[in-house]
Every structure is written in structure tokens, then in C-alpha cells.
Amino acid sequence: MYSGLKSMREAFGDALADLGKINDKVVVLTADLTDAIKVTKFSESYPDRFFQMGIKESDMMGTAAGMAVDGLIPFATTFAAFATSLANQPIRVSVGYNRANVKIATSHGGVCVGADGATHQSFEDIALMRLIPKMTVLVPCDANEAYKATFAAAEFDGPVYLRFGRVATPVVTSFDDPFTIGKAKVLREGSDVAIVSTGSMTPTALSAAQTLGKEGLSVKVIHMPTVKPLDEKALIDAAKECKCIVSAEEHSIIGGLGSAVAEVISSEYPVVLERVGVLDTFGESGEPDEILKKYHLCETDIIEKVRSVLNKK
């Protein structure tokens, strides 16, 4: 369906509009955003099911919870930073504790938000959402997966956090591949080292694997579109096969995918793990290339960590 470069938020917008056609229980709320979170198409096609909440994310989450307990399937949409930190309490209590069938769908997850800078970047959202009991956390890696994850979230009964990026990124998966919540995707087989990645870092992980492959290294790439619940079996199998792991995510190394990987392998099959992610810092403005370089989220950074784990193996 999508190929080349495409932003995940645009695919989300397409998916929502298509969902609107087939499921009249789907409603969309947003906090003063429309085009930035790509809900414009839905809002124009289904104005009666679109709710502009204004600049009040906390109220949006509570309202969505109320609509969900009444049987609707609300998508509460805003930027990742605002949804998960500003509205954390209503997500925790009104959505999570009530197990309200709300889909918290966000854009601007990660470092690539352009000029907006630190207040609009989100490195903590995966960690914050993983901490909400029974919250499902979906972090697709490209536009094709973002589209399918949106449909999967709507079909799933329970609270879901969906994280999309702002900028166009390479489409690396096929639209025809099935998407199942809780299932990892092995995108490349290998036995020397396993790169476990999520979100926009998966295309980067694939590039790194390709480069390392040319040097004769056998690199496995496992993409985790569901960070919670994590596909533990796929992870443990990779640990057994490769004996070392590098995790990669456009998120803090504290509390995100790398932490989730460590939590599993440390008790089930301990192997050396290095994490690629944002260190304990706030972000800043900049073009994606500049920012990815500064925060060590490039192919070369993954390759460096691969060499490091291989040395420690």
C-alpha cells in the first residue's frame, strides 16, 4: 500500500478514515490538533463522530473514557509528550484502572519533531505507558504497519497506546504481512548478534544489519511493534541463538524497549545487552539528520554497539 518514504501519522490518518467507514462506533477526539495528527480526513468524512476538545488533554482522556464505558471506541489523539505526561493521571485512573476501551494515538513520538524542540519531543512516553497496568503499547516501524496497527487497536478490547512518528521514514514492511498484537517480527535471520528494535529505529537497524552483513557478520533483526506485552518467546529464542543483543529505539534508554528486553532476558536467559536510545537528557530543535546524529540514533551507533556486545560476548 505504501512504499518509499511515508510518515506513520499519515498512514494513521488514512486508517482512521477507512475505519470510520466500516465501524460507526469509532469516534475521534483531539486536543486542538487536526492536521498535525492527521485526523483531518476523518473529521471531514465523519464530522458527527469527531470531537475537537480544545487544548485540554486531561479532559480529553476522561471524556474518551466516558464514551468508551458507554460502548464507543474513542481514539484520543495528540502529541506523545502531551498525552502521556500531561494527561498521565486520567490515563492511569479513568482509562487504565477502568480498563476503558480507549485508543491513545499519538504523533511526534521520538526526537524527530523539527523546530519544536524539547517540549514537543517525547522520549519518555513508551516508559510511561508501559507502567500503566494492562496497557497495550504499539510502536509500529513504518506507514504500512501504522495503518494495520490502527485497525488492530480498534479491534482489540482494552486500552491501547499507539505511537507514531512525525517525519517521513522508509517503508520496510509489506502491507500484506499480518499484524498481530503481541507478536514480534523477525525481519532478518542471523546468528552472531540480534538487534531488537522498535518504531522508526527498525529501518535503521535493517540498514546496520545489511552493512554488517557485508563484513560477514550474521545479524538477526527482530522488530517489536508491540512493546507491551512483549513477545518474550521471540526474544528468548534470539538470546539463545545469538548470545548477545543490541536494542534500538527512538526513546530514552530508561524504561523503553531496551529496559523491557533487559527485564526478560535477565531472568530467562541472560546475555550481553547494549541499548541504543536517548540518554538521560532533554532534547532540542533541529533537522532529523542533525538530531539523530547528536543523540546517537544512527546506523553507525547501532554498529558501534554491535561491535561492543560482540567483544563482551
Binding site: F51, S58, G62, T63, D70, P90, V93
Partner: protein
Amino acid sequence: MTIKELELKANSIRKAIVNMIYNAKGGHLGTSLSEVDILTYLFFSCMNIDPESPKKEERDRFILSKGHGSEGLYCTLQARGYFPEEWIDHYMDHSNPLTIHPTNKVPGIEVCTGALGHGLSIAAGIALSAKLNEKNYKCFALTGDGELQEGSNWEAAMFASQKKLDNFVWIIDYNKLQLFKSVEDTVSLEPIRGKLESFGFDVHEVDGNDMTGIHNTFSSIDFTCGKPHAVIAHTTKGKGISYAENVAAWHHKIPNTQEWEQAIKELNNARV
């Protein structure tokens, strides 16, 4: 039910609350007693509900945003037949569904509450959902007064007004006390009526411990006026027990045996 019958019912619920908190050695006495008359009126006279079928689609919804007033709600729901009396007798036992802050595991309770400032948003979502689905049910939400210091309430208020949710009733249990002292001396809500009117609400004021007044107020609400409704219920914290009335310490103080005996005696002798 007649006004007299409702008053008698509220009195018996008050006694149940006192017994429940005394036996469990935990709870929020003052706030549960201030809200009893409103809850009795809603559940025994006003709302379209069926305890035999607590999830009936057309039911009116009630959200206790001030979740710490749970004992008042539990005793009202039990009196209305939602669950057995043993649940009240075993309040706060680990295996009992009745916990200090209410959860949706209890029949008659729509959502879990307890963290203040979230119930109004949920209630507005439910009211909006009713409008969207072209259903006639109403959503009543009861907040505290100190609770309104949370800004999220005012977000919900703006939204309810924006969407003209005339099936939404926000009741404020205005007992004038919060945890340590008066609301006025903490962070004042005044002028509360002006605030609510300026937010676009159809505002009513009533003595929230007077059943006749409560009946007249709720009966006068026009659910087709295109505005959300607010009922400022002026109440007395600890209502019905002389030593607890208007005393902040009774927010969650537990009566000793002598105090319990006196409370029951006063409620037995209350002129209803």
C-alpha cells in the same frame, strides 16, 4: 416515594453509614453524611434505574467523582437492592468488592473513582455518548467542593457547555470543608454561582440536606434547555451527628464506642 418516606430512608442510610464506618474502623464519615440526602433522592426517586438490571442500556448514569464519599453511595445502593447487606457488614475486608474508593466491580457503580477531579470528564463523555447514540438517558455527577480546586473540572465544564449537554447534571456537595479546614480558608470557590453561570451552566442552588428542596430543584430542571445543569447543594459535613457537624476532623475520623452510641441515638431521635 413521598418526601416523608425519602427522609426516613435517608435517616436509615445515615445509620448504616455510621455502623459501617464504626465496624470497619475506616472511611470518610463527614463527607458521606453530607451527600446522603442527594443520593437518596437520586436513587429512590429521580433516576431511571433498575437494581435487577444494573447495566440496562437506558438507565440514567451516576458518577461519584468525590470517590471518598463511597460509604454514602454503598449504603444507598445496598438500600436500593444492588447487592447484599453482608457486603456492608464486611466493608474493607480484603475479598469484599467494597473498598474505600469505589470501583466498577460493584453493581450500580459505573466507573472507578478516588483520584479527585476526573469524574466530570467521564460523566461528560457519557452524556456526549448518549447524545451521539440518540439515547435519552441522563448522567449525574457528584463532586465535592474542595475537589473543584483541581483544574480538570473546569476543562470538563467548558466542554459540557460547548457541547450543550443538557442531559448532564453536575451536583456540588458544598459542605464548605475540606481535609484540614474550610474551603474558604484553603482556596475559595467563591463566587461559585457566578463561575458556573459564566461557564454556561443552568445553575440551581438548594439546601442539599432538605429533601423537599432537593425534590423541587431536581423536578424543575429543564432537560431540553440546551445547557448543562449545575446544582450547588449547600450541605453540612457530618450532617445528623451533632459533634461531627461542620468539624473538619470528622472528614475521616472514626467514632469510638461512646461516639458511635451517641450517633445512633441522635439519628434514632431525629425528627423526620
